[in-house]
């Protein structure tokens, strides 16, 4: 019997949990200001997240999907992407989106039940949040196909969770991307849990990165709590894709430190011990340590940052809470480029009812 093909999946970590470099660091990581910038973004994502959960608990926000613990992956991807690239998010990658110019007010509006949250003022070409699992991976492949056909040096990045890699759409997207050598990076955020189902019950595959292999594209595993490794790996994959070298799958190993959403109670199915252990690997601590050891971060810096983040988040919350509800016309606006007649009639009915009930 002859071996006709061999495959391997590499794992990368550049910064360990105590903030020590485990290999030679890339240029951006040797730039103190750039590292501080990423640390600030990670901190802002975390402060925002805690506030959003609090808003939900106090009845001022709908169900909310927390990003707690994912900050390194999210900021690493954001920092690696170019502004002209296109992001196809799932629904908790706020760190990437904030980096790309989505506002906290928009995130709150979306989870607050208002479609205007999807109308990003910043990254106009990015896809909106995607709740139907894995469907966005094909959109990213389609966007990448457009860039390829038009000869634009742009890439698409699709996020997907560990559970999402069980969906047919994910395999179809990988297959298409490989077959057509599309400029797309699939960012698999393996946080251990698809609501209550642990990744070991999801698949017998040792890694999720290896799902790339069957599609004929490279797959890499990174420490998703290491912002340097994430940014460096995604940056390299995007450089390759941009230069016509084809797609890539990057599996970021991280941990969902929160419940799945605010509607979930993970204590029903997840051992407390596991969460406790995962906190030791959380992503902010190691960057702070890295900066501190290099003399680029002080206790005063940390205090000032926390204060600035809280102020910025509070301002966004005020703006969100002060955003009046849309009128009933909003149901009809943007349904088509121009509204068909029967819908114009229904719009008028809705207006009349709104007036009758003393609504808005």
């Amino acid at each position: 019997m002859n071996t006709v093909a061999r495959f391997q999946v590499d794992y990368r970590q550049l910064l360990d949990e105590r903030g020590r470099a485990t290999a030679e660091l890339p240029a951006f990581a040797r730039d103190a200001e750039e590292m501080r910038r990423m640390y600030r973004a990670m901190t802002l994502a975390r402060v925002f997240d805690a506030k959003a959960v609090n808003l939900q608990r106090t009845g001022q926000l709908g169900t909310y999907a927390s990003s707690l613990g994912h900050e390194a992956t999210h900021v690493g991807v954001g920092a690696a992407m170019h502004a002209e690239d296109v992001l196809a998010p799932v629904y908790r990658e706020y760190g990437t989106q904030l980096w790309r110019g989505v506002t906290m007010r928009e995130i709150l509006l979306y989870w607050g039940g208002d479609e205007r949250g999807n109308d990003f003022a910043g990254p106009r070409a990015d896809f909106a949040w995607c709740v139907p699992i894995a469907t966005q991976t094909l959109h990213a492949a389609g966007a990448a196909m457009t860039f390829k056909i038009r000869g634009e040096r742009r890439c698409a990045v699709a996020y997907i969770g560990d559970g999402g890699t069980s969906e047919g759409a994910f395999y179809e997207a990988l297959n298409l991307a490989g077959a057509r050598q599309l400029p797309v990076v699939f960012m698999v955020v393996n946080n251990g849990w698809a609501i209550s189902v642990p990744v070991r019950a999801q698949t017998a595959a040792q890694t999720l990165a290896q799902k790339a292999i069957a599609a004929g594209i490279p797959g890499l595993q990174v420490d998703g709590n290491d912002v340097i490794a994430v940014r460096d790996s995604v940056g390299a994959a995007l450089d390759t894709a941009r230069a016509g070298g084809g797609p890539c799958v990057i599996e970021a190993l991280t941990y969902r430190l929160s419940d799945h959403t605010t509607a979930d109670d993970a204590s029903r199915y997840r051992p407390e011990r596991e969460v406790k252990d995962a906190w030791a690997l959380e992503p902010l601590l190691r960057v702070r340590e890295f900066l501190r050891q290099a003399g680029h971060w002080s206790a005063d810096d940390e205090q000032a940052l926390q204060r600035d983040c809280a102020r910025e988040v509070d301002a966004a919350v005020t703006e969100y809470l002060g955003t009046p509800r849309m009128s009933t016309d909003a149901m009809f606006d943007h349904l088509f480029a121009s509204l068909p007649k029967h819908l114009q009639e229904q719009r008028a009915m809705a207006r009349a009812r709104g007036a009758k009930t003393g609504g808005h």
Binding site: G112, I133, G164, S166, E167, V197, Q202, Q346, G359
Partner: protein
């Protein structure tokens, strides 16, 4: 003697548990798993988590991880494996976590589940129940509040059932599991915990393909289902005050439709209002109107009225109450039929 009967009734009443709809759904599954070893429960988060709405709470503990299985996160997998299991002797009760996520499963439902019996000339069949939450009104995120039953009703070879109370959920789900053909069982999320009802856990099923007359009346027939029964009964209470007597029919099985019950009622009242949360265009209400036009036109004293959602995307929750028909809209529609 009278007091003894009353005391016995009171005792029976206090002994029966008062259950929410979601508890009744879990209880029906447990009953049937206990009495029929071929029944299995599958879906996302139905195991240790007991379902995101708790509709399978306690089942895995009681019946084990073989019979109550968390599937991989893939709806086509859930529906497709149900086809394979059902064709070979099991009776899967499969949960699709929200109706908005049923679409990857539609290929399996349309092309296999619904026609297995027919295309194999009865050699193989698909006794599957697909349970899925239905409708809005609970401030849920995007894609979690739609009412797209009409898509399912258009598929030949499956039944579509929707309960409107805990007791009907219990009885209809038992009937759905026992039915030899595929049933999609829609569960109105707004009613999951809206009310409690005493239910005897006696394994007694309610009939499928049968509408329930919730209230008799003489002036107008209102046909509705699921969560809209609540708004309708609220509207009817208002109409009572004005001396208008409405008959309310809970359709319960959306496909096939119990035409006889509707036609008999319209023959009596001469007026028909149809209420559903789903969009109007090609909704189940259109089919009901067509049935009455075909078979009961001369009983009608006024044009049929439909009270429905708009033909728009179900809005996110800040506007969802503007979309979902209100009791006032139902009252208005009844007034229109009476003015005609």
């Amino acid at each position: 003697m009278q007091w003894r009967v009353l005391a016995a009734q009171r005792r029976a009443a206090t002994e029966l548990p008062k259950l929410t709809m979601v508890e009744a759904i879990a209880m029906a599954q447990a009953w049937e798993m206990q009495h029929d070893p071929s029944v299995v429960v599958i879906g996302q988060d139905v195991g240790a988590n007991g379902g995101v709405f708790r509709a399978t709470a306690g089942l895995q503990e009681r019946f084990g991880a073989d019979r109550v299985q968390d599937t991989p996160l893939a709806e086509a997998t859930i529906a497709g494996m149900s086809v394979g299991m059902a064709a070979h002797g099991l009776k899967p009760v499969a949960e699709i976590q929200f109706m908005g996520f049923i679409y990857p499963a539609l290929d399996q439902i349309v092309n296999h589940m619904s026609r297995m019996r027919h295309r194999t000339r009865g050699r193989l069949s698909c006794p599957v129940v697909i349970r899925t939450p239905h409708g809005g009104g609970i401030h849920a995120p995007e894609h979690h509040s739609e009412s797209t039953e009409t898509m399912l009703c258009h598929i030949p070879g499956i039944r579509v059932v929707i309960p409107s109370t805990p007791a009907r959920a219990y009885g209809l789900l038992l009937a759905a599991i026992r039915d030899p053909d595929p049933v999609v069982f829609l569960e109105p999320v707004r009613l999951y915990r809206a009310a409690r009802q005493e239910i005897a856990d006696d394994g007694r099923a309610l009939p499928l393909d049968t509408a329930f007359v919730l209230r008799e009346g003489t002036d107008v027939t209102i046909v509705t289902w699921g969560a809209m029964t609540v708004e309708t009964l609220r509207a009817v209470a208002e109409l009572d005050k004005e001396g208008i007597s409405a008959e309310v029919i809970d359709l319960a099985t959306l496909s096939p439709i119990d035409s006889a019950t509707i036609l008999a009622s319209v023959a009596k009242t001469g007026r028909l209002v149809i209420v559903h949360e789903a969009a109007r265009n090609v909704g189940v209400g259109a089919e009901i109107a067509a049935i009455v036009a075909e078979h009961g036109l001369y009983d009608l004293q006024a044009p049929i009225q439909r009270v429905t959602g708009y033909d728009t995307i179900m809005p996110l929750f800040r506007l969802e109450q503007e979309y979902i028909p209100s009791a006032q809209r139902i009252v208005d529609a009844v007034q229109v039929t009476l003015a005609a």
